[in-house]
Amino acid sequence: MDNVAMLDAHGPEARPVLVVEDDPLLRFMLCDLLRAEGLVVVEAANAEEALGVIAAGLDVEVVFTDVQMPGPFDGLELSRRLQASHPDIAVIVTSGHLDGSLVAVGIPFLPKPYVPTKAVGLILSVLERRRAHGG
């Protein structure tokens, strides 16, 4: 495997999970657990970084995003923009300040604080559902 293939890691079928979280320790713990599950993970510290990742052409399959983060727009705006521009990307929202009303509009929601393993389970279940439906 050459360097570039190594950076694309895990083969061409593996689309990354993008985790958007401004708490570096929570981000690390969650991403570490996701990598232990064999997933390719990209880390962003805010919504602006996340859009930069998408704009750079990384073929992201799922975005797991916090809502309240520093930067020009929040995780909800990120999810709105992604639904408009990349409807093939699944978005999961987490927050300590929202209720589960997002579920009513079809966006999986995980309330904060959460145990990282619970977030991993939710992300894996979304991936499994997508793959079961050929997504």
Partner: protein, 137 residues
Amino acid sequence: MGAETPVDDARPCILLLDGDVLSRHALAEYLRGCGYRVVEVTTSEELFAVLDHGTPMIDTILFDLDAPGSVNGFALRAMVRDAYPGIDLIAAGSTEKAAKEAANLCEEGPELTRPYDPQLVIARIRRMQARRDDEDG
């Protein structure tokens, strides 16, 4: 954040500070491919949050001298040396230097099976940055 602490892991751990998400991701994946555990941080504040937390234990810090945050790269180096004298510090002032330093780490890394070419990492970062900048522009 949740009450859990990072999972136990025997791999040497690198704390990577870079304010550019694409450079950081490429360098982090490169280092992970060499067998390291990598904690990614985007600012000096995030870097000290990880160090002050105490876990995961950090062996080496690879940092961009121009990374965002209230502490500049030179002050950051002095502060870390003072407060965490057991941690190796590697400063990089450019993507090229960071990739070369990552390659040096890979040569000492736990899972090196072949030499890595940092130029390929740099080329990938440049391509991703150009695509992102085109979309932004």
